[in-house]
């Protein structure tokens, strides 16, 4: 082992980054920290974006808003929310940045489906909502037009800065401690990998706090783990009344998670565009098979050309190296449905 030890030392000594790259990285970090300090309000916006990313199935609709802008629909391209090691900004994130570039502070940008509504919430200090709308509407409309969006409603509202509730802060501290304990106990039983998934939840009322625990069903020592967690709560005198345990299958949950993103990526590529008239999307995983249903307000199937274009975009998306790797051996069925629920296109494996 002496040879190896010497080699390790040499490797650590030789594994050096050139000065220029180090300096660049240092500057990037310092710049980032400075930017974040200047605009603390941005965090509210990102929280709102995250919330609005969630999609739900809603009632069918047809809203010819912005009917004056017609004709320009770009070819469909489905962009993964995460690829090549980075998150790809979705429409809300893009608009957030666009509005900031125009010099306005953004509270949040959110999108709700059916009708596809984009809401830009602004933190106004030296301007009125009327003036801000006048300034921003043409820029955003133009940006949306350039990116193929032609069926949406655009709303501007004034955001109020949220004051943090001290009670929530205490809860949040307690929850952090609970999460840490749960992670420690699972890890001590050799389940460090499982512990990396968020296994602890938290329910709080005025009278008591309850921890909800997701237990992977392959763990045999579940009783001992729960008992140890309870002991740890007691020894730290945490105000926890009870632990509610539910079991789940980890492989199923992982498949469910990745299909949530896939369904969302496909939906996002087509929503807000009159060619597709999307009204909602749903997905489920049953017996290892993933199903995605994309609902439209179409009463008749679109042209053969459009159907081929959607199929090609989906195949192209699945052919991306990262998607191929992520999909493993998942079997799936993706359907686009008419207003009456009848499928007019299906991609399956």
């Amino acid at each position: 082992m002496k040879f190896l030890d010497e080699q390790f030392r040499e490797l650590d000594e030789e594994l050096k980054i050139n000065e220029q790259s180090k300096e660049q990285l240092k500057q990037k970090i310092l710049q980032n920290v400075t930017t974040k300090e200047k605009r603390p309000i941005k965090q509210y916006g990102w929280i709102a974006i995250a919330v609005c990313m969630c999609f739900i199935i809603t009632l069918p609709f047809y809203s010819p808003t912005m009917a004056s802008i017609v004709g320009k629909v770009l070819p469909i391209k489905i962009t993964p929310h995460y690829s090549e090691g980075q998150y790809n900004p979705n429409l809300t994130a893009q608009l957030f940045e666009l509005v900031e570039q125009e010099g306005y502070a953004v509270g949040s940008v959110g999108i709700t489906p059916s009708p596809y509504t984009i809401e830009v919430s602004l933190l106004l200090k030296d301007s009125t909502l009327k003036q801000a709308t006048k300034d921003l509407e043409p820029t955003i409309t133009n940006y949306l037009y350039e990116n193929g969006y032609d069926e949406y409603e655009l709303l501007f509202t004034e955001a109020k800065e949220v004051q943090r509730d001290p009670h929530e802060d205490e809860e949040s501290k307690l929850y952090d401690e609970v999460r840490e304990i749960v992670k420690e106990v699972f890890t001590s039983y050799g389940y460090a990998e499982e512990a990396d998934y968020e296994l602890a939840g938290f329910k709080s009322t005025w009278f008591s706090n309850i921890v909800t625990l997701d237990m992977p069903d392959h763990i045999e020592e579940s009783d001992e783990i729960i008992a140890d967690i309870e002991k740890e709560f007691e020894s730290r005198k945490l105000d926890i009344k009870d632990i509610e345990v539910t079991t789940f299958n980890l492989a199923h949950r992982l498949q469910d998670n990745r299909w949530a993103y896939i369904a969302s990526d496909i939906y996002n590529a087509m929503a807000g565009k009159s060619t597709y008239h999307l009204t909602g999307v749903s997905y489920k995983v049953r017996k290892g098979h993933s199903y995605v249903d994309i609902k439209t307000a179409l009463t008749e199937p679109p042209s053969e050309e459009t159907i081929k274009e959607i199929e090609a975009a989906i195949q192209e998306y699945f052919a991306l190296p990262e998607k191929k790797e992520q999909l493993q051996n998942d079997d799936y069925t993706i359907q686009l449905e008419l207003e009456n629920g009848e499928p007019f296109m299906e991609v399956t494996k």
Binding site: L4, F8, E14, I29, E193, E194
Partner: protein, 172 residues
Amino acid sequence: MKQEELTEWFDQYGESVLTYILLMVRDYQQAEDLTQETFIKAYKHQQQFEHKSSVKTWLFSIAHNTTVDYFRKKHPIQHFLGLTIEEKDYKPLPEQIVAMNDQTEQLYRTIQQLKPSHRQVIILRKLKEFSTAETAYVLNWSESKVKMTLKRALEELRRKLIQGGITDEILG
């Protein structure tokens, strides 16, 4: 916390954190991004640093968690199963790395081929020379797990080096 302190941390440990992450993720650009994330998190959460460990150990534990998060998002299944994704292409050394001699480069590449848990423990214990207790803190493992995993990791590394042409006699 003042920016001067962050600068000091980066000057002292930035390179070491970056090379740790580089050996883990095998992509220089990604390693740079994750290093940036590590220092920003440290800056934002420095009030949570309880001085139970050294700043270096604390920074490495943040780097470790940041890297694990990255793997979890990028390769959830492999991460869960603890698998290594084989490199399809023989990547040249990143241009940002100052030159390395052949034997050291072989060790660098062989370490990158180990499975993540083996890679982590070898880098921390042998390259970065953390103690068993410090490694346990960074990885959130027990000390006995660190010792056992290191033993297995060194055996695997040795096997791979022999497969790569280094003789048993040289390894001793």
